[in-house]
Subunit: 214 residues, 2 copies
């Protein structure tokens, strides 16, 4: 029987690379796609399309955070345009986001007998979110141990820069043209938000054209 994994999956560059990585490593994957009040539904549509294309199970999980005041989910808040990547926690940080996602992944993993949860965090080219760091992943794995599970959070991109992630993904045949990274939901990526800028930096450093912009 194939070993099983739960994948936190948003159709972004990182989590799509992680999905393909887990499939390459032989896992039977269950993708969790979160609808947590993002400004647009594009990433959810892209995630479903990719999950279907690789024939993995997926669930769309609706999350309601009535107290949210961040700019990623707040209806009256603008996604910020920074000249440089932020050195403090930016307004797009959704409080507790990865902690919430991981807790659902734990619940799913316990239920489907998966021993691995894959998350696409990386702490090199990132938006300075506190829930994308090695310290956070390590502490979360200690919670899984304290719960007496054998489940481990795997974060294979944690120490890679964006160019290295893209190069890994190209080897794994990740369909980057189908991934959606932008915080805004326009027809094309805005190329101004932090997320677009990080992606563009990665493709530039990898000396590869971003197929999503073709």
């Amino acid at each position: 029987m194939k070993k099983r994994a739960v994948i936190l999956f948003s159709s972004g560059l990182d989590s799509t690379t992680v999905l393909y990585y887990a499939l390459f490593k032989g896992y039977k994957c269950t993708c969790l796609i979160f609808d947590y009040g993002q400004k647009h539904g594009k990433e959810i549509l892209s995630a479903v399309k990719i999950a279907k294309s690789v024939k993995t199970e997926y669930s769309i999980i609706k999350i309601n955070l009535p107290w949210s005041g961040d700019s990623l989910t707040g209806k009256n808040k603008e996604i910020p345009v920074h000249k440089h990547l932020p050195k403090t926690v930016p307004s797009t940080y959704v409080p507790g986001r990865n902690t919430i996602f991981l807790s659902y992944a734990l619940s799913c993993a316990q239920s489907v007998n998966a021993r691995s949860i894959f998350i696409g965090v990386n702490s090199v080219d990132f938006s300075n979110y506190p829930d994308c760091t090695p310290e956070f992943i390590k502490a979360y794995n200690n919670v899984l141990k304290a719960l007496k599970t054998k489940i481990v959070v795997q974060s294979p991109l944690l120490n890679l820069n964006k160019a290295q992630i893209i190069k890994l993904g190209i080897k794994l045949n990740v369909p980057y043209k189908d991934t959606w990274t932008c915080y805004n939901g326009y027809e094309k990526p805005c190329m101004e938000c932090d997320s677009c800028k990080l992606r563009a930096k990665g493709f530039k450093e990898a000396e590869i054209n971003d197929p999503a912009l073709a």
Copy 2:
């Protein structure tokens, strides 16, 4: 300005005692009430009634766990009747439940600037759930530190037995007649499920009549 706290609140004996404890300690409380597919809505109605009676803010959070196979939320599964309290994890354990609840509490606490999250777990007279232990609470607090928050999970009932909890609650004027403990949603508590049995044991040992049964 009053210090703020987020309370995981189900209207059960433990979480109601914790709410009253936090209010007694001077916290301005926000109650999170979870609708996670329990077999009945009685505890949610009771929770709203109690939260309103003490004039605290509250949010009802809908949680969907499509993979759930436990007997507390599974539509075709019976709540078990055990002769003795279980020594292994019983079928009523909802995978990841407190981990999910705490992650929402973290999100809420970060958003409303609360430094405390109160949870009514206790590890003396309990149903052997792995997410009600000192190890779990300790590990979770390390996650909150890793996230560079100043939020702390407080579990004041952790080392009390049920009779001690009830005696504490009586001092705090907890309206035990309005609390709902039973896993089943009949007109009266079933007195057969583990939750009813633990409550009855506590009132018996405290030598107090349970006002919910009057």
